[in-house]
Symmetry: C2
Subunit: 316 residues, 2 copies
């Protein structure tokens, strides 16, 4: 959460001048995004989020991400549309870094979601799945279970044990999961990272979904499973009311097929595996004395265990 | 520049409920303030800046700072008024930390001010001086020259030399300055830290002055000297057009007395001394490998030398 680059008022005014957005009124660096700098910008024409891509994101993929937002916004999904510059470009460069402007959307991210909010989030993600089906961009999921298993194997059992002695036990379970991963579930473009932080709410209703930088082609039911694993454990233990509302909200827009429903427990373990791997990797990359919160991968080991124990019941 | 505290949407909505500000619409942590966390908050009644006081500021002084904003705003100065809660309180506590809400003001801070902007800033600070005269709060300047000399002496010549071999030479000059510091210049409440970052501009005009947390009772001409030293060296060297515009803008609202005019070169060296001391102290407190920009105190040693050489001419 930081603004990595100083962007002066004059440079900002010049940049805004490249868009048909009137005059710059205000700009505040905002504490969002871990690999980008972001500003909330106001002009005489409205409010916008300016993102400067600092690292991690391959700018060759920006047309995919920004085009996807345009496609979804045009179909009425609660996502910010990309603002194009006077030449029609979806992104520009400032000081050698790519920058893009998107709509500002109202709303606040819930810390402890309610069932009403989970239901609305389920419906919103289903709308994205349906709306994205005819999007003509493609992006491979580079954090599929086989990739996340490879991350954990690269960490190695010995180092994983330094995080928690029980963590290495995930390695054989993950291998087994990868071996049984379903390949033929109905697909679309999925968000694949829809934690509550990435959802804006006005009261109980979704007003915006943001941070599509993990979006990719993959199974729609996997996205529901990711969202389930991300939303339904507010205090660390499963909240059945949230889980039920999320799935019911999803199915109010798009009915799950039987193969998807049957696969959900396994897909949810795959979602847990992804967050176990990324958290373990970050943990081992972060010195213990760094002033950065290290997120415990064991939280998602416990969620894996929950899904393993509960099976289909977690999605009723 | 950071948000030090996570304030969830639910806690924020509860806090906003204590004010007559309608419903929470949006909240973004903003990258402003070095010792506070700040959020740009939107409600159905408008936009506001929420500040959580993390450290450094003695909350016993909040009634002075927040009362001053109210006093100045009521008199038409371009400062944000404090928003009082339903019980009339200017600040509240959340999780044991003091929080205050102030008005959001439009504008952007110039990186490279124009003469028009300097003129407007000079007029704005003069309006503050006049408007603050009947404010009934008092606060001692705890960064007066004697205090900043004490900071440098505490660093010690040996450590100062590790920053720059020429830095310790400031010590005897500073002692001499303190011995000759004028005690009877006309006073008011002064901002005392009006760098361009603390001024919001719409085009060439000041739309807001912020960050009054160094405000104190002191000589008005000293505040003009601080602003001169902070504004008029955009590329490190003196820009006479800026200096002239700043003083002319000030005098368009309040004429300087002869004693003030005569004292300006010395007051400006006092302003430089303050920033030399705070930068030297921060430099020595910051490990070289910390990912924080260390500001070079020698920049203000060079400005000191400029004021010593130029004398009254710098303020013509």
């Amino acid at each position: 959460m930081a603004v990595y680059t100083h962007l002066g008022a004059e440079a900002l005014a010049r940049l805004i001048g490249e868009y048909a957005l009137g005059e710059l009124i205000s700009a505040k660096g905002i504490a969002e995004g871990v690999s980008n700098s972001n500003w909330l910008v106001e002009t005489t024409k409205g409010r916008f989020i300016l993102t400067m891509y600092e690292r991690r994101i391959d700018t060759a993929q920006l047309p995919f991400f920004l085009g996807l937002l345009d496609h979804l916004a045009a179909k009425g999904c609660a996502v910010p549309a990309t603002i194009h510059d006077r030449s029609g470009a979806a992104f520009r460069h400032v000081d050698g870094k790519a920058v893009a402007l998107i709509e500002f959307l109202p709303g606040v991210s819930p810390s402890v979601p309610t069932a009403e909010q989970a239901r609305s989030a389920g419906a919103a993600i289903a709308r994205v799945h349906l709306a994205a089906k005819d999007f003509d961009g493609n992006r491979t999921n580079d954090l599929a279970p086989a990739d996340t298993l490879a991350i954990l194997e690269k960490c190695g059992a010995e180092k994983l044990a330094t995080i928690d002695p029980e963590l290495p036990a995930i390695l054989p379970l993950a291998s087994d999961l990868v071996a049984h991963w379903p390949q033929d579930l109905p697909g679309s473009i999925i968000h694949s990272d829809l934690f509550p932080d990435n959802v804006l709410m006005l009261g109980g209703e979704v007003s915006g979904m943001i941070d599509f930088y993990f979006a990719c082609n993959d199974a729609m039911a996997y996205d529901l499973a990711v969202t389930h694993a991300a939303w339904c454990f507010p205090e660390g233990t499963y909240d059945a009311a949230l889980g039920h509302a999320l799935v019911a909200g999803y199915e109010s827009i798009r009915s799950l097929e039987k193969t998807e429903r049957d696969a959900l427990p396994l897909l949810a373990r795959g979602a847990c595996l992804r967050f176990i791997a990324s958290r373990a990797e970050d943990w081992l990359d972060t010195p213990p004395d760094a002033q950065v919160l290290r997120k415990d991968p064991m939280e998602f080991v416990r969620r894996w265990q929950f899904y393993d124990d509960a099976g289909r019941e977690a999605f009723e």
